[in-house]
């Protein structure tokens, strides 16, 4: 039995009727669909209500390299839809002129539930996240003021901004909010795991996946908590510090020694598609990840207490656990053409 909350197009029939009137968009809000048993999103939709026009504009911007200084890099360069909106095969992402960054690209999944963004939580609100890659010299290398100027002079953007925000004069605020609106629709909640949890007819774990799920609940759930597969906090999972990158993680933001080497716990949804792993992409496979948890944890004063004694997993356990993690892949999300590059139909 599906326990989904229905898509609510508030005043849907009214909206359809009013479609013919371009200047009438009241009550045209879109509320993304997500399971009824999920927590309430952290994002304040009242400050940036989703509309079809806002989402479409945000999507167009997300895939437009005009955001970068030399028009070579769009958001999708590091956040490709087919690979869980991340940049696979690269430990550290690269931006304009093949500049290499200092961190692995994060997946963009279920962002409405995030309270922090970036591996060190440098960004405290989804609306302002895009400022970071836009102005980073190794990513898009541009200035937000210049992006706004370029868009103002690039048809049909002024018209699209008018449709979304009732203002054809483009501002940084509206640019940011449009990008946020699209990203808020990146919801992944229809993996095999979800179908099993929702007791959908015809879906069940294999014996291996069941065994893996039990191991997951014992060893992983305290940090990678269901159903979002992250508890949204920061932790030091015992990774040895990288002597070259010297990335101190959360402490860079809070300046608190208690946050040394802590990084945001990422979601495990679609983990099959989002290699390599960790904040610096040091592990190329899930096997390497599990090997770290059983044999590679190093001591540090800020290491998670849950990892004090390491994790005991046999070779067979690891296979079962990986089998379970593969059930978190949501192909409806990954291959949803409404989220991919907007091609003219």
């Amino acid at each position: 039995m599906k326990r989904h909350r229905c898509i609510i197009l508030t005043g849907a029939s009214m909206a359809l009727f009013l479609c013919a009137f371009d200047n009438v968009h009241e009550d045209n809000h879109v509320i993304p669909e997500y399971p009824a048993n999920w927590p309430v999103p952290a994002y304040n939709f009242d400050r940036n209500p989703l509309t079809r026009e806002g989402i479409a504009l945000g999507r167009k911007l997300f895939y437009d390299p005009i955001l970068s200084r030399d028009s070579s890099i769009s958001c999708s360069n590091c956040h490709l839809s087919y690979t869980a909106f991340t940049h696979v095969d690269h430990a550290l992402s690269h931006g304009i002129r093949d500049s290499i960054g200092t961190r692995n690209s994060a997946t963009l999944i279920n962002l409405a539930w995030n309270r922090y963004f970036m591996w060190d939580g440098a960004v405290n609100h989804l609306d302002v996240q895009a400022l970071a890659p836009i102005e980073h010299p190794a990513e898009m290398g541009e200035k937000i003021g210049r992006v706004v100027e370029k868009l103002q002079n690039d048809r049909p953007y002024p018209q699209l901004f008018y449709k979304a925000f009732r203002d054809s004069i483009i501002t940084g605020e509206h640019l940011m909010k449009a990008l946020a609106q699209f990203q808020l629709t990146l919801i992944s909640a229809n993996s095999k795991y979800d179908k099993v949890m929702n007791q959908e007819s015809g879906w069940a774990f294999t014996a291996q996946e069941s065994s893996g799920y039990a191991l997951f609940k014992t060893h992983c759930n305290s940090c990678h908590t269901e159903p979002l597969f992250t508890n949204g906090t920061f932790a030091n999972n015992g990774l040895p510090a990288d002597s070259l990158l010297q990335d101190i993680g959360r402490m860079k933001i809070t300046l608190n020694p208690k946050d040394l080497l802590k990084f945001k716990i990422p979601t495990l949804r679609n983990i099959e598609f989002s290699f390599p792993y960790m904040h610096d992409g040091r592990f190329r496979s899930l096997s390497e990840v599990l090997h770290h948890y059983t044999d590679g944890i190093v001591f540090s004063p800020t290491r998670s207490p849950e990892l004090k004694d390491g994790i005991m997993l046999s070779h067979r356990d690891k296979i079962d656990l990986i089998a379970f993690l593969l059930t978190l892949s949501d192909r409806d999300f990954l291959f949803n053409e409404d989220l991919a590059f907007p091609r003219k139909k």
Binding site: N124, H125, D127, G172, E173, T254
Partner: protein, 234 residues
Amino acid sequence: MRIKQLSIFFLILGQCLTSGGQNQPGNDVSLLFKPLYRNMPLLLDSSYVHHQTTFSIQTLKFYIGRVRLLKDNKTVWEAPGDHHLLNLADTASLEVPLENSAGIVFDAIQFQLGIDSLTNVSGAMGGDLDPTKGMYWTWQSGYINLKMDGRCAGRKLPDPTFHFHLGGYLPPYATIQSVTLKTILSSRVVIDADLSFLIDKIDLVHQRNVMSPGVDARELSKKTIKIFRSHETP
């Protein structure tokens, strides 16, 4: 009797005409900030002497908000949560109108220098808070409360420029400051912003740039309170 009435009339008229210090009914109050350096107008790109060297300012911008008018230490008017970006390069921005404040009787003003923590965590904003204003850190969420960029002749490493971008809202490095000033009753309150009370407390030759939240930003922010004074005090 007629003379008495006329006298009273002229007395009242005279009072009205000479009351440069009165808040006339019908006129909203405005705050006019006058950036100075040691009592002289502070001009961009002009050279000033400082501790055996010279310096000039290329950028001076700061936010004020939560303006309140006080009478006998009680709030008699407050702004509806507006934030104003004052920019030395934009003279018009130095006058802050207080809407719907006409006729309010006050003896002091209070304002915040900087952006409050709630606004800092509320995402993208418009108007003076738009991220295109150059007062929002892109690499770490948060507003720059006061931005001062300049050059100092004696400063060598890494180059002669200095940059003080004071911001941060997370404790214990919060940098927002509150300023309260006694003032005369007037529809145009002039506030001197004498930057010497900040700049002269900094060793411009050796002080490293401050462009992120932390101890330096917090300590420099505390000094910024002293730059403001009423041009006319009662």
